[in-house]
């Protein structure tokens, strides 16, 4: 019984990889490490500095322009 269950480990592993592959495949293999932010200030077009990214060891803030 235990051997039988051990024998199922790889098929489950392969199945999970298969699901992962299809999940990624449907997104074109796109990495998804981006953050979606809603209602950014409309003035970013005129004043790009108003929007700060959360990347590079500091958090996002909206300082209100240059």
């Amino acid at each position: 019984m235990w051997n039988f269950l051990k024998g199922l480990v790889y098929p489950f592993f392969a199945a999970s990889l298969g699901l992962g592959f299809f999940s990624e495949y449907t997104k074109g293999g796109a990495s998804t490490d981006f953050e979606e932010v809603n209602q950014v200030p409309k003035t970013v077009r005129q004043n790009p500095g108003i929007y700060r990214s959360h990347y590079a060891w500091f958090t996002r803030n909206f300082p209100g322009g240059k």
Partner: protein, 653 residues
């Protein structure tokens, strides 16, 4: 059928087959030669030994669609005991022979197709020299002959005629000795070269399992293979006087006392001692004599004999135990080696050689495993041959787990058997509880123990290969289907405006963020967007971008970061490089709409210095990364399983 009178006593002697030339009177055992309508006395047949055969004159059968009737027999005696050659008349009146020895049956016919000059001649009785095709050589079991068929010599035996009964196509003389060579072909055929005549007669045919003979009219219905066996009897040891059981009097030819090691010939009433083992030990005899064995898929049997054997390899002695099992209609062996159990049955024929040091039997290929010598250290119980102390043999094993085939070769015989590995739990449940409690769980890998990792590896290889193929097909399809639409391209120059490592947002920080022109993303919501940045002149520097794709209409931003960094140099005379002058990031499921890109950059350039770079935005891209990434993960565990499998194989003993 004609009925003639015995020339000695006048009793009626029925002759059923017109081809029969000799007849034995059932009343006075006179052997007569048929001459026209009379019988002429030529001798007297000896008294037949009671060998408990289930066959008798008049027994009928059907082998492979050919009906036959038993008309007569010649009984012979050889080193291992008695055997019978039953003379059969087939449905069309032709003669055949049914050899019966140690519970095995061989259906043969005289082979008249071999030119007499091709049949090897024999010189000498002991260690005979065969003269074949002008060559003189001493023969040993395992040697090959070509006589219309490739034959392998299985056994050399000297037989003594005991007597006969019924009607026969050939004559015999009681006490007459003849050399017989038993042969087997790779196709499973059986043959005997009988040197009682010159040139020798070749009888060829096949091994015939008892159930395939469909016998009727057998002797003593109660001893038939599907009926009750002859009950055990008690014997007093001639060596020490102990009372010992003979479990299978109809089968065994010798009995080894479990107390003093004396071996008695049970074929003679006086039970004379024929051998003696110096040492007798019941230590580690895990299955005592008389233990019933009920293994699934094998006939119910009983342990009637125990042999302890050993071999020396590199000054180390390895021992194992063979248990002789007797069941109704045959016998088998249970081999115990390092607490691993293997069930062995006699193998008819000689397995074929195949390339790569392999043997093939019944379409299964067996890999060579080991050669060794074996010495019989001691014996307990009863055996179908006359056991002698210090019997030596050469053993060759071929494995195909859970099966193995094994040959045991002595000066006189080549014996093949087929084994099947018995798992410990199966073995435990096959014996009575008190015996099972003494069995030990094996700590080493058995010779033909199935390798769980090998089977798992094979199965996992299939799973991985199939899934990789599916991944590849989808990947290729995805690449073909992807639009790869460039929606924006721009060239920019980064110039360091703040001292490196200045806190962003601090008083000394000079913001360098900017936005691109607006571009349109078409297509479906499920399609992705790839932002590609390339800085071809980057040299021992990095450029880090906080990139935000912002939808002009909905004010939704998709935040990510991209870094290009390229460093190189020479250390200790070795040149090195790391990083890349380009990078890209894919953003999944970006809805269609009008977008612009906000970029904010950082670098380790000194103030006033910088580098050119280009930005490209592509809609609906298929990345090869998932295929490679998932395929690698898929195959990684197989490396581990392969090593586990290899490790298991190296532990086989």
């Amino acid at each position: 059928m004609s009925e003639l009178s015995c020339p000695n006593c006048g009793a009626p002697v029925p002759i059923i087959n017109k081809a029969s030339v000799y007849a034995v009177c059932s009343s006075c055992k006179t052997l007569s030669l048929k001459k026209d309508v009379n019988l002429e006395k030529i001798g007297t047949a000896g008294e037949l030994a009671d060998d408990h055969s289930i066959i008798q004159l008049g027994t009928q059968g059907n082998y492979k669609g050919t009906p036959f009737r038993v008309l007569g027999r010649i009984q012979l005696k050889f080193e291992l005991g008695f055997w019978n050659e039953w003379h059969l008349m087939e449905g069309d009146g032709s003669s055949a022979w049914l050899g019966e020895a140690q519970g095995s049956y061989y259906y043969t016919k005289l082979n008249v197709g071999i030119p007499t000059e091709k049949i090897p001649t024999l010189e000498g009785d002991e260690d005979p020299i065969v003269i074949a095709s002008g060559r003189r050589e001493r023969i040993t079991p395992g040697d090959s002959f070509y006589l219309g068929e490739n034959w392998t010599l299985k056994e050399i035996m000297k037989a003594t005629c005991i007597g006969g009964e019924g009607e026969l196509p050939i004559g015999f003389q009681t006490g007459y000795e003849a050399i017989l060579l038993d042969l087997a072909s790779e196709d499973g055929m059986f043959g005997t070269l009988d040197y009682s005549e010159s040139p020798a007669l070749l009888f060829s045919g096949s091994f015939a399992p008892l159930e395939e003979l469909h016998l009727t009219g057998i002797r003593q219905e109660e001893v038939a293979y599907n009926q009750t066996q002859i009950p055990a009897k008690s014997i007093e040891c001639k060596g020490c006087g102990a009372s010992i059981n003979q479990f299978s009097p109809d089968f065994s030819k010798s009995l080894a006392c479990e107390y003093c090691g004396s071996v008695m010939d049970t074929e003679s009433d006086d039970l004379k001692i024929i051998a003696k083992f110096d040492q007798v030990s019941r230590d580690n005899v895990l299955l005592p004599l008389g233990t019933p064995i009920k293994l699934p898929n094998f006939p119910e049997s009983k342990v009637i004999g125990v042999l302890r054997k050993s071999t020396e390899v590199d000054d180390e002695t390895y021992t194992w135990t063979d248990y002789l099992l007797r069941y109704k209609g045959g016998y088998a062996w249970l081999n115990e080696n390092g607490d691993n159990w293997t069930y062995f049955e006699p193998l008819p024929g000689v397995p074929k050689w195949a390339p790569g040091l392999k043997r093939v039997f019944q379409k299964r290929s067996y890999k060579w495993f080991a050669n060794s010598d074996s010495n019989t250290d001691f014996a307990l119980g009863e055996f179908y041959w006359k056991v002698s102390a210090g019997e030596k043999a050469q053993i060759e094993d071929f494995i195909s787990p859970p099966y193995m085939i094994s040959s045991e070769r002595t000066d006189k015989e080549l014996f093949w058997s087929k084994g099947e590995f018995i798992p410990f739990d199966t073995m435990k449940s096959a014996v009575p509880l008190d015996t099972a409690s003494k069995l030990r769980k094996p700590e080493i890998v058995g010779v033909c123990e199935p390798n769980p990792f090998k089977n798992r590896l094979k199965r996992n290889l299939w799973v991985a290969a199939a899934l990789t193929a599916v991944f590849l097909v989808f990947q290729i399809y995805g690449c073909i289907k992807a639009k790869n639409q460039v929606v924006y391209q721009g060239k920019f120059k980064y110039v360091q405006t703040s001292v490196p490592n200045t806190d962003i947002g601090s008083a000394n920080f000079r913001d360098n963020s900017f936005v691109t022109d607006v571009f349109e993303l078409k297509g479906e919501t499920t399609e992705n967007v790839e932002i590609q940045i390339e800085a071809p002149n980057l040299d021992n520097k990095y450029l880090f971008f906080s990139a935000v794709l912002i939808n002009e209409d909905t004010d939704t931003a998709y935040d990510t970061s991209i870094e290009t960094s390229y460093y190189h140099g020479v250390d200790d005379g070795e040149s090195w490089s790391e990083g890349s002058k380009s990078d890209s990031k894919s953003l999944a499921e970006i809805p269609p709409g009008r977008y612009y890109l906000r970029l904010e950059s950082q670098s380790d350039f000194p103030v006033g210095w910088g580098s050119e770079y280009s930005v490209k935005i592509v809609r609906d891209v298929m990345s090869p990364a998932p295929f490679f990434l998932f395929s690698i993960f898929l195959w990684l565990p197989l490396i581990y399983t392969f090593f586990r499998s290899y490790s298991f194989e190296s532990k086989r003993v």
